[in-house]
């Protein structure tokens, strides 16, 4: 069994501050972390390896320092890790990112399953997973909260997908790409042995040249149909907070209900 996990280094968006004058993101001092959804993707791949044998390859695209998230993946138990890093990839939108990752995946040799997190917490698009699946012409199963059944010999998979109305059970064929939600598992912590292994490992860095046969016109900004034209801070929530006072909770409740009925939202 060969599972591939696509992971991303993201700024911890809960630590992001806004420059109040220029209205831009202050990135200095914001810690970079492994995208939280990707930890579930890694965990699920590792569980399959434990059950069926084989290997798990982690792959990421980003600046050289993104090696840190690959180290984390290896410390958790991934066998190999590859970084795609090149100035030529800079400015990639989701289309170009999916193209570049899929080109690299093709060069990793045969695979049975690809895992991605539901979305990355910086861009929040959730588009790269489906993009990779389409580039590789394999089945995509998004928002997966459980693998009910998997048989690599027969090429079968049955999963539950968490939709707005409930959980949809679908069967499909392998190889397939799964994007996973938090509900799927409880990710493990890196072990001491894993951390040691991760710190000693070599991390191949693939550049555009290594993706021989790929069309360079589809890398980076050239391969990105979208352009960001403006970035701004969202308007703050307007209005003050009104704290409802009262002698008794009944009085507070009555006052609050009165106000909410006046808002005409109920």
């Amino acid at each position: 069994m060969h599972a591939i996990v696509c992971i991303k280094q993201v700024p911890d968006t809960t630590e992001v501050k806004i420059d109040p004058v220029r209205g831009t993101l202050i990135r200095e001092g914001v810690p970079s972390i492994l995208n939280p959804f990707d930890t579930y993707a890694i965990e699920e791949a590792l569980r399959l390896k434990e059950q069926f044998g084989g290997k798990v390859t982690a792959i990421s695209m980003g600046p050289p320092q993104a090696i840190e998230v690959l180290k984390e993946a290896v410390a958790m138990g991934c066998d190999e890790a590859i970084l795609l890093s090149d100035r030529a990839f800079a400015g990639s939108d989701t289309w170009a990112t999916a193209y570049t990752l899929s080109q690299a995946i093709r060069r990793l040799g045969p695979f049975d399953i690809i895992f991605c997190g539901r979305q990355a917490i910086d861009g929040d698009t959730g588009q790269v997973g489906p993009g990779i699946a389409r580039q590789l012409k394999i089945n995509q199963l998004t928002y997966v909260c459980k693998i009910q059944h998997i048989d690599f010999d027969k090429g079968e998979i049955r999963v539950e997908r968490l939709l707005e109305e409930g959980r949809e059970v679908v069967e499909s064929r392998l190889p397939a790409l799964l994007t996973v939600v938090k509900d799927i598992n409880q990710p493990r912590y890196p072990t001491f042995k894993g951390i040691r292994r991760a710190s000693r490992m070599e991390y191949p860095i693939w550049t555009a040249k290594d993706l021989e046969g790929a069309n360079p016109a589809y890398f980076g900004l050239d391969g990105s149909p979208t352009r960001v034209v403006r970035v701004f801070t969202p308007p703050p929530r307007s209005g003050q907070t009104e704290i409802i006072q009262g002698e008794t909770v009944q009085e507070q409740a009555a006052k609050l209900v009165e106000k909410l009925l006046a808002e005409k939202i109920i």
């Binding site: 394999i138 109305e165 409930g166 034209v229």
Partner: protein, 398 residues
């Protein structure tokens, strides 16, 4: 027809491609040359292993036609068991505005089985034209056939703008279609408008956990595609006297060729769709345990709302993940959000801070949730909630 090209002169009959094909689409003919059949998905696995380079695939094509050939605004109308999602009518309402600004037509794409009634609804809500693809293969939403149908339609009709709801289905589908077409896609928009100078669609969306907003355009590819969040745009009022054209398209789909099958749908009892909910009552660490959600459920029931939860409550195992609101759960935008025993961590705020009215109930007057709430009650939720439920019951069910 398979996209794979095989140069018979160069093929040496080594069978490397046959072994590499994940789909069993290649075999050797009597002259020991590789031949491909319709199972080929053009995945390229064989191209990489052929030692003599006898196999090739056509390159992904950029739109060859001029951008000005692309006209009209399209909306995908999603449906579940023959019932259209309200998010689609919100899209039709916005699509109508965009079409009027661009002085063009609004087309609704209705895919499903026995869904003609939805085509008529789409016209009532504002579509000029409906492309109706009614086929048993399309009964349940599945990526492969839905994407295949829409890709074909886009190539044939060349719309300028294509918007979809940012539901799980919409995001699944839009990503597949935009990749195939090689066009830009902006996810989860909260604003769409037309640039008066360039005529381009300006797509505005939150990023970095809602810390910033970005406006994105797609200047050189068509259609300009976007998914839009639930409950951002007004639901238009239907006008059943409106007239429109319905174009029926036969998709020529083969169930046998589709790998994915929907085998079951599991609904949790009493679960209300958070994305569609107008009112959400949410519980956090302060509810103290699974039974602490009881007063929350009772209030939600009286209000006809849904039950939400913070990450703390979900991680403690008090309520299933499907209820989680916030960065690693769902993003919601109800008219009324009542946060009970939720301190208001930034990850939670990212998922609900665009709600119209926010009410916070918390023992701790310093809880950050009070900073973004419109109304707050400092107190014990186990006393406040029953009082509130009783008061609403009196006022609403007289």
């Amino acid at each position: 027809m398979a996209l794979l090209q095989i140069n018979r002169e160069e093929c040496i009959g080594c069978e490397a491609c046959v072994a590499a094909c994940p789909f069993g689409a290649l075999h050797m003919d009597e002259e020991r040359k590789a031949v491909v059949d319709d199972k080929c998905t053009a995945c390229g696995a064989c191209v990489d292993v052929c030692p003599v380079g006898a196999l090739s695939l056509p390159e992904v094509e950029a739109p060859a036609a001029g951008l000005e050939q692309y006209k009209g605004v399209w909306v995908w109308v999603e449906q579940l068991r023959g019932e259209a999602g309200s998010i689609s009518w919100e899209m039709i309402g916005k699509g109508r505005e965009l079409a009027d600004q661009r002085k063009t037509t609004l087309t609704a794409c209705v895919l499903g089985y026995h869904v003609e009634h939805i085509a008529h609804q789409a016209i009532a809500y504002g579509a000029d034209r409906v492309i109706l693809v009614d086929d048993p293969v399309l009964e349940h939403y599945r990526t492969e056939p839905y994407a295949a149908v829409l890709v074909d339609l886009i190539r044939q009709y060349k719309p300028e703008i294509f918007i979809l709801g940012a539901s799980t289905r919409g995001r699944d589908l839009a990503g597949a279609v935009a990749t195939e077409i090689f066009t830009g896609l902006t996810a989860d928009c909260t604003g769409l408008d037309i640039d008066p100078e360039t005529g381009l669609l300006r797509q505005t969306r939150p990023a970095f956990g809602g810390n910033i907003m970005a406006t994105i355009i797609c200047p050189n590819h068509r259609p300009q595609m976007a998914t839009v969040r639930h409950r951002v745009f007004e639901m238009p009022a239907p006008d059943h006297t409106r007239k429109g054209e319905i174009i029926r398209v036969n998709p020529h789909l083969d169930e046998e060729a589709i790998a994915t099958k929907v085998v079951d749908f599991i609904r949790e009892e009493g679960q209300v769709n958070l994305a569609d909910a107008r009112i959400i009552v949410s519980g956090g660490r302060g509810v103290g345990g699974p039974e602490g959600f009881e007063p929350i459920r009772r209030l939600a029931e009286v209000l006809g709302g849904a039950v939400g939860a913070s990450r703390a409550a979900v991680d403690a195992g008090w309520i299933p993940y499907a209820h989680q609101v916030g960065q690693t759960g769902r993003t919601v935008r109800p008219d009324l959000y009542i946060a009970c025993g939720i301190s208001g961590a930034i990850q939670h705020l990212a998922g609900m801070q665009t709600s119209r009215v926010i009410v916070a109930i918390n023992k701790d007057p310093e809880a950050p949730i009070f900073k973004i709430a419109n109304y707050g009650i400092v107190g014990d939720l186990f006393q406040v909630l029953p009082a509130l439920t009783e008061e609403f019951r009196k006022r609403l069910h007289k």
